[in-house]
């Protein structure tokens, strides 16, 4: 029984060590600014199209679904409120994080994994660079900056998707829609909506790096690491989402 638990506990411990080192390196010399901007470009700009598309359609779908439910109470006018709350609090952060996990946790894991199995990680250490400083920290910093921004974009595009439905399908006016959006959002929603992507960024970047760096067993191992990274990152996003939501509900019991 103890033996059975030993492996996962060791793995979690290793993950914390990596996370600790990566975070500590943020304030340590040397800084690899070029790598950070390269990663921002790959993670941020690269993910933009899918984030925009997904954001738009999830907002539109929310508006369609909710308007039917609201119609039963004659409250179709509140569609904007529901769309805004669910996007800002949940859908924006979670969907964006899942998309970026699918795209970048896997990308990071396979990139670092192939570097590991071709001895490039060893070569880095041999040639005077700390792979955590050079590879992990820039990816972490880039994701932590970019994921909240992507989430904000997804939120707005989603609301715009809802607006299109509201105007063209539900016969609401633009003013009706946007004013209900505006009125319903409070600071608490924004805090939650920005804290989540920030926390998810750690998951997305570090899980990818973690599985990449512990890859063994050649090309097959790289494939395995990639899959494990996406699965672990996605599950962790949902788990952490629950706890952060719980925290905010606990802070503001209504």
């Amino acid at each position: 029984m103890l033996d059975l638990l030993k492996r996962p506990i060791l793995t979690v411990q290793e993950f914390y060590l990596l996370a600790g080192q990566a975070v500590r390196n943020v304030i340590r010399q040397p800084h690899y600014g070029d790598d950070i901007s390269l990663q921002m470009d790959q993670i941020g700009v690269g993910s933009l199209p899918i984030v925009v598309l997904t954001g738009f359609f999830s907002g539109a779908v929310m508006a369609l679904q909710m308007s039917r439910a609201l119609a039963q109470y004659g409250q179709v006018g509140k569609t904007g409120e529901i769309v805004a709350i669910s996007l800002v609090r949940e859908l924006g952060p979670v969907l964006t994080a899942l998309l970026v996990a699918g795209r970048n946790s896997s990308g990071i894991a396979s990139e670092l994994g192939s570097m590991k199995v071709t001895e490039q990680i060893d070569a880095m250490r041999a040639l005077g660079t700390d792979p955590i400083q050079k590879l992990v920290t820039p990816r972490l910093v880039a994701t932590a900056v970019v994921l909240p921004l992507l989430t904000i974009i997804a939120d707005f595009i989603g609301m715009f998707g809802g607006y299109m439905i509201a105007v063209f399908r539900l016969n609401l006016t633009g003013t009706q829609y946007w004013s209900s959006v505006w009125q319903v959002l409070v600071w608490d929603d924004l805090a939650q909506g920005l804290l989540k992507p920030f926390v998810f960024a750690f998951v997305v970047a570090l899980v990818g790096c973690f599985f990449g760096l512990r890859t063994t067993g050649g090309t097959q191992g790289v494939g395995r690491a990639t899959t494990q990274a996406v699965v672990a990152a996605s599950v962790l996003v949902f788990v952490l989402d629950f706890f952060i939501t719980q925290l905010f509900v606990g802070l503001n019991p209504k």
Binding site: M115, T118, E119, Q120, D122, A123, M124, R125, A126, L127, G128, T129, D130
Partner: protein
């Protein structure tokens, strides 16, 4: 003991991965300027031995001295200074495939803290190192655009660009045709004799060991010349035989040739 510390010394080094012993009480010393040829079957621990010398693998027990400094318990940050004195050619070249050839060779110059060189100086040294391996024309290419033998040569350029006093070559000729293999051994001998570097080289080709032990680089002609056995080189070159993580032989070429051990003589038989 000699007053000058050995370039590299292993003392009862044990290494295990997940409970599996990979190096078992390995001890040897390489005085500065000498050459060691490591041989042994696949999985016998040669690569792990080289990585332990670089501090990439931490021994479970025993000590590793690089130029007299015990590196076996050093934290990673302090190892970087030690590593800047060592050049390593990895078994699969390990070039960074996101960087061009020029950037690959410049990498140790730009990243090793003990080396300070301005952009102009760096470019000059990169070019010089690439000229050394006769690949100046590939500066802008990426490693994936080169052949295996060319990649090996670029990796040699990257290993020697900082002029380290100790060089480790892991299977520099594995998987190459005899002509390219000889070119690469010539480069290694050239580097050794021009800069008087201490050299460790993993190789299965007896022919390579023979070249390293009995030939020296002749700068005038750019070729290898036989030192006729009695040369200083021959005495300063020893063969280290690995078997299942143990060092089973530390011998001169004559002793190696005379060995009756069936495992050892399998490697000598390639002489042809």
């Amino acid at each position: 003991m000699t007053p000058e510390p050995a370039a590299l010394r292993f003392e009862n080094v044990f290494v295990a991965f997940e409970g599996e012993e990979v190096l078992h009480s390995v001890s040897f010393a390489v005085p500065a300027g000498e050459t060691r040829i490591l041989f042994g079957a696949a999985g016998s621990g040669k690569t792990v031995a080289l990585k332990t010398a670089l501090g990439l693998v931490t021994p479970d027990s025993g000590r590793v001295y690089v130029f007299g400094q015990d590196i076996s318990r050093l934290p990673e940050r302090e190892l970087f200074d030690v590593r800047s004195k060592i050049g390593m050619l990895f078994q699969e070249s390990a070039l960074f495939d996101s960087l061009t050839i020029e950037e690959n060779v410049a990498y140790p110059l730009l990243n090793q803290k003990s080396i300070r060189c301005g952009p102009e100086e760096c470019r000059r040294r990169v070019r010089e190192a690439l000229r050394f391996v006769e690949l100046e024309h590939t500066l802008e290419k990426f490693p994936s655009e080169l052949s295996g033998g060319m990649r090996r040569r670029v990796a040699i350029a990257r290993a020697v660009v900082t002029g380290p006093p100790l060089l480790l070559y892991d299977s520099p000729t594995a998987g190459l045709d005899p002509i390219t293999a000889n070119t690469i051994i010539t480069l290694i001998v050239k580097q050794r004799d021009l800069s008087n570097t201490t050299t460790l080289i993993v190789t299965h080709r007896y022919q390579n060991g023979n070249l390293l032990a009995n030939y020296r680089y002749e700068p005038q002609t750019g070729r290898l010349l036989r030192t006729n056995g009695a040369g200083r080189r021959t005495a300063a070159t020893r063969f280290l035989g690995f078997k299942d993580g143990r060092l089973i032989l530390d011998a001169t070429q004559d002793e190696l040739d005379a060995s009756t051990d069936p495992y050892v003589s399998k490697f000598v038989k390639h002489n042809g």
